[in-house]
Each structure stands twice: as C-alpha cells, then as structure tokens.
Amino acid sequence: MDDDREDHFILQEYFADVNLSHCLQFSANGKAALDLLDGLPPDNLPDAIVLDLNMPILNGTQTLLQLKRSPRYKAIPVIIYSTSENESDKRKCLSYGAEDFLIKPSTYEAGMKIVEYLISMIKG
C-alpha cells in the first residue's frame, strides 16, 4: 500500500517482467488497504504486505499497529517501504513488529533486489 501511483507502477513493472503481476494488489492508503483486506476470505489473505510510511488518512505506522493488533492479520509479514532511511522511524516500525525496513530504489539494480526479496516471500 502506497499513495504514490508511480511506485505501484515500478513494482508492477518488475513483477510483469517475471509474469507475477497477478500476485500484486495496490491500495492508496492504510484505510483503503484495511477495507480491502477485510473483504478478503480468510484463506486468501496476502503472503506479505508492503507498506509505505508517508500516506494520507491512515499513515504507515498507524496501519502497521492496526495490522499487528488484529488476530486476523498479525501473522502476515509487513515490509516497510520508505523513501528515506530515518533511524527513529526504522526502530519504531521494527519494535511494532515490522518484518523489515526497505528503502525505495533509485537504481534498476536496487529495485531488482527488493523485488527478488519480495518474491521469495510468496508461498507456493
């Protein structure tokens, strides 16, 4: 979930290159994402959630807290996906139960590594 459509597009591109675009679902903010998740059947929940921090309505940390408090979602790994490596943000998110803290890529190579990491989390 990310309010930046371009970041959706960039990830979409990588996944399309390996024919896995069907594995992705995007939301523009935390609220919309939670609504989307609530509408899914329990056996079709995502393998991982990629969460931007700076979002309108319900921001990244608030969304993270809600997910980790919910028995239905707390087992799903959440990867924080942020523009800058802010140490205090990073510590906070990891203490709230985030799986990892990744920086958005500024080269093709860096993006590729992130996508490979994300793909490795897809079950089956």
Binding site: D4, I10, E13, T83, S84, S106, T107, Y108, E109, G111
Partner: protein, 540 residues
C-alpha cells in the same frame, strides 16, 4: 534778594573771606557740611576768576524767594565782563551747584548762583536780621587760623571718605558675588574678597592670557573674544562662563557682567564687573533638558521594542517557513529526483538497444542535470539547517577531524597527485560535524580549483593571536582576483562557468555561516594563477 553780607573781591585774602562767609551762611541756613563745602567751593571758583580777571568785582550773599520756596543766593558783579575768561571755573561750579546764571549788562556782568534752602523752620525777618547782625560782629580774619581750620576740615573729610570706602569694601566683601573694577586702560584695579576666595588672584588685565587658567578651556576663547571686543567698542558684556574653583579645581558656571561707566562727556572712566554663581540654575536647566531627552529616548525605546517584537514574530514565521521548506526539500523534492534517477537507470539498462546514440546522449545529459539538482538541493538543505538548528558544542580535536577529511578525499588526492601538509592542530570548542564540514569544504575547493598542469599542494597551519586560533588553508591553485574576496562567501556566488568547474555556489556560504556560529570569522586572499589562502579565526 535780601542781602545779608557782601565781600569786595580784590585780593587773595578776600577770596578766603568770601569762602569763609559762604561756609558760615550755609551753616546758619541749615546746609550739611558736604553741601556747605560744595557751595563754598563753587562760589570761590568764580570769585577767584573775578579777582584775577575783573576790576572791581563784588560778592553779595543773601536769601531770595517766596514764603514757601527760598534760595540761598550769591551774586558776583563787576563793571567789566570777565566771564569769558573763566569758562572752566563756571563749568566746574555748575557741577557743584545746580543753578548758575550769567547775565551780561554791557560792559559789566552779573553771575547768580542759587541753591534751594531746605530749612526746617521759617525765615522770619528777625532771623535774617540776626544773620546780618552776626556778620557785622564777625571777628577779623586771620589767614593762619583759616588755613588751620581748612586743614582740620580736610582731615575730617578724608576720614569720612576712608570710612565710606571701608563700608563699601565690607559691603562688597560680604555680598555672595565676585566684583571687580577695571580702569579705562583695561587694568583690574579693584576686586572683592570673593574673587580671591574663589579663583585666587585675578590677572592684571581683563584680556590677559592668565584668564585661561581660571576658566574652562571650552569657554576661554569666546570670553577672550567677547572681552576684547567689548573693551574696544565700550559695550557691556553679559555671558555664561565656567570658572575654575581654586579649592576644588571644579568648573562652576558663572554669569559674568561688565558694565562701562562714563562721565557726563561720555568718556569712559572705568568698568565694573560682577560674576555670579549660576551653577545650580545651569544644572537644573541641564537636568530638565536631560529629562526631556530621556523621555524621548524612552519613547523611542518602547517603539523599538515594539518593532523588535514585530520583527521577532516575522522572523519566527519565516523560520517556520524555512523549516517547512527544508522538509519540502528533504522529502517532496528528493522523492521525484529519486524516481528520475530510477527511470534513467532503468532506461539505460532495459532499453539501451531501443535508443540510438543521440538518444543515449540525451539520457546522459538528463542524468547530469538531475545530479546537479540533487547536489543543489543537498547543499541548500545543509545551509538552511545551519540557520535553524541549535548546535551542540563540545571539545573537538581538529587533528582527528582532518584525518577523517583526508580519508574522505583519499581517491581525489591520489587522482590529482596532491600533497597535503597539516601542522599539529589544537582542540577547539565547537560542533564536531560542522567544523568537519567547514574544513572539508575548504580542502575540497583547494583540490577542485587546482591547476591542470601542476599537482595541488595544500598547507594547513595554525597560529595564535589575541586569544584566537588563526588557521590558514593555502593552496597553489588557480586563485581569483582580489576584488572577489568578499563576494565569494555570498549565497549562490560563483566565479566560474559550470563547464569549467561544477558547483552550486553554496559551499563557502556554509563555511562563513559555520565560522560565525563558532563566534569566528573567515576571510580569503588570493593572487590569480598563484595561490589562495583561506583564513579562519576561531576563539580559544
């Protein structure tokens, strides 16, 4: 006129007789001794002339007038007119007795002197007869007795004058002001005791340079000018001057007045002068003025305070806006940049085959432009952060700082084959990372602005002066014209085109700001094609 007695005026003995009779008649008719003398002298003067120049002159004394107003009258008559020969005597007599008339009755003359009687009782005919009787029985004249009597009288007058002089002196000495008298040649001939007590002795003349020692140096030139002018033109002086008090050495404000005294012929006789202490008035005047000034100052202070308050509010707002901008710069400007970098990189990797050489060149230019923008944003952000964050200070060992910097520039130093000599450096009180930025920017500049055909040689040395460390960072680079030595520290100031030397023009502004934040100062001097020296002054 009722005649009482007469004297024929022929010789000197007649003159003495005339004088004696006038004195006596004046005494009998109630004139004071002073008036007796004046009237007798006036009549004697004319009688003297008559004896000298007349032929058969005669003096008649008597009383004339109505019941209420009576005059002592003296008539001097002669059959020839001698009056034209005694103008001096007449004018002298006129000064002593008010009323003198000269009537010429060809060929003779009659001179009449009159003095109003101020007799307490009335003049009965009996009384007048008693006067006539007195002179009839008068003892014969002895010249010796007369002269002796005159001498005794003179002595009495001299005593009176002395007494009156003493009175005057006592009076002037007891007045709380300084008084002095100056004769018509400008010489000070008299001064009272206050003068001595206050200023010590006065100079001999009013225009003597000695006044300089008695007066405030600020007032003396004006005094000298005024006094000289007044003496020349015989006009009064009135002015405020500071006189030096002998006992304390303090200057005390005085009002100095000098008035010329002239005789009836308008000829200057003398000057009288006063000096009155007006220090208290002067102080009150000054205090009043100071109070007004104080009040004005207070008002302007209040106004300034309000203006300052308004400025602070404005400054706080603009600081807040700057913070907002800094945030915008970190996040909202960097984010699109990151994406641009990403797209350029992805295009180069995934789509190289689809672009021709010109397309690839455009991609390369695009990357350079974006890089410049990123650099600019980073520098600007650094600069703006210097203005808003309070720096934490500590003891900074600059030797360590320089080691770290040299490590950062290792590659660049190798590439350029640069030598860097660093003197042992002191520890200073400051912010470690900002001081590092300061020296780093200067070394970076020294490497960057080096000559193409000469290996850079950078020297960092330190001296101490006036509780300050003075660091010199010198190089053998391209230098710049001396006239730009101030300008280069301005924000966005650049001396070269981007093709020659890339950069944002912010680096030295940051250096200047860091030096100032450490209560220090940075300056530069240079010779084009030879060297540049940056000097940093930091307090101990």
């Amino acid at each position: 006129m009722k005649e009482i007695v007469s004297v024929s005026l022929e010789n000197d003995m007649d003159l003495i007789l005339a004088h004696k009779r006038v004195m006596k008649l004046c005494e009998l008719t109630g004139f004071s001794l002073m008036s007796q003398t004046s009237i007798a002298t006036a009549i004697s003067e004319i009688a003297r002339c008559a004896i000298e120049h007349g032929t058969e002159a005669r003096l008649k004394l008597g009383i004339e007038g109505s019941a209420t107003r009576k005059f002592l009258t003296a008539v001097i008559e002669d059959s020839v007119d001698f009056s034209f020969k005694c103008a001096d005597a007449l004018s002298y007599a006129k000064r002593l007795v008010g009323n003198i008339e000269v009537s010429k009755n060809q060929p003779g003359v009659q001179i009449v002197l009159q003095q109003m009687l101020n007799f307490p009782g009335t003049f009965t005919p009996n009384k007048i007869d008693s006067y006539v009787e007195y002179f009839k029985n008068e003892a014969p004249l002895s010249a010796y007795d007369e002269i002796r009597r005159k001498n005794l009288l003179l002595q009495e007058f001299a005593d009176k004058i002395k007494e009156s002089e003493d009175d005057y002196r006592t009076l002037t000495d007891s007045l709380p002001l300084m008084m002095f008298t100056i004769n018509n040649r400008g010489v000070i001939v008299y001064h009272n005791k206050w003068v001595e007590q206050f200023v010590g002795s006065l100079p001999k003349e009013i225009t003597s340079p000695g006044w300089q020692n008695l007066m405030s140096p600020q007032d003396f030139p004006l005094f000298l000018k005024t006094a000289t002018n007044a003496l020349q033109k015989i006009i009064p002086i009135k002015g405020e001057y500071r006189l030096k008090e002998k006992s304390t050495g303090n200057f005390v404000w005085h009002l100095l007045t000098m008035i010329p005294l002239k005789n009836e012929k308008e000829v200057l006789i003398k000057w009288i002068g006063f000096m009155v202490d007006i220090h208290a008035n002067k102080l009150a005047e000054k205090t009043l003025k100071d109070n007004v000034e104080l009040k004005e100052m207070q008002e302007s202070l209040v106004q300034n305070k309000e203006e300052l308050q308004a400025k602070i509010v404005e400054l706080n707002r603009s600081n807040y806006e700057l913070e907002q901008f800094a945030h915008l710069a970190t996040h909202d400007l960097q984010e699109p940049l990151r994406k641009l970098f990403y797209y350029i990189d992805t295009l180069k990797i995934k789509y190289t085959g689809l672009l021709d050489a010109r397309g690839l060149n455009m991609l390369k230019n695009m990357e350079a432009a974006v890089s410049r923008m990123k650099e600019l944003i980073t520098d600007l952000l650094n600069y703006s952060q210097l203005h808003q964050r309070k720096l934490e200070f500590g003891n900074v060992d600059l030797n360590e700082t320089l080691l770290e910097i040299l490590k950062d520039f290792e590659i660049s130093i190798q590439e350029k084959n640069a030598t860097i000599d660093v003197d042992p450096l002191p520890s200073v009180w400051g912010n470690a990372s900002r001081l590092r930025q300061l020296f780093s920017n200067l070394i970076s500049n020294a490497l960057k602005y080096s000559k193409k055909d000469e290996a850079p040689h950078i020297q960092i040395s330190v001296t101490e002066h006036d509780r300050h460390f003075i660091f010199n960072i010198s190089d053998n680079g391209i230098g710049f014209e001396e006239q730009y030595s101030e300008q280069i520290f301005g924000l966005f100031e650049r001396l070269h085109t981007r093709d020659e030397f890339p950069g944002t023009g912010i680096g030295l502004s940051i250096c200047k700001r860091i030096a100032e934040l450490h209560n220090g100062h940075i300056s530069a001097r240079s010779a084009p094609g030879e060297y540049t020296v940056f000097q940093i002054k930091l307090p101990h």
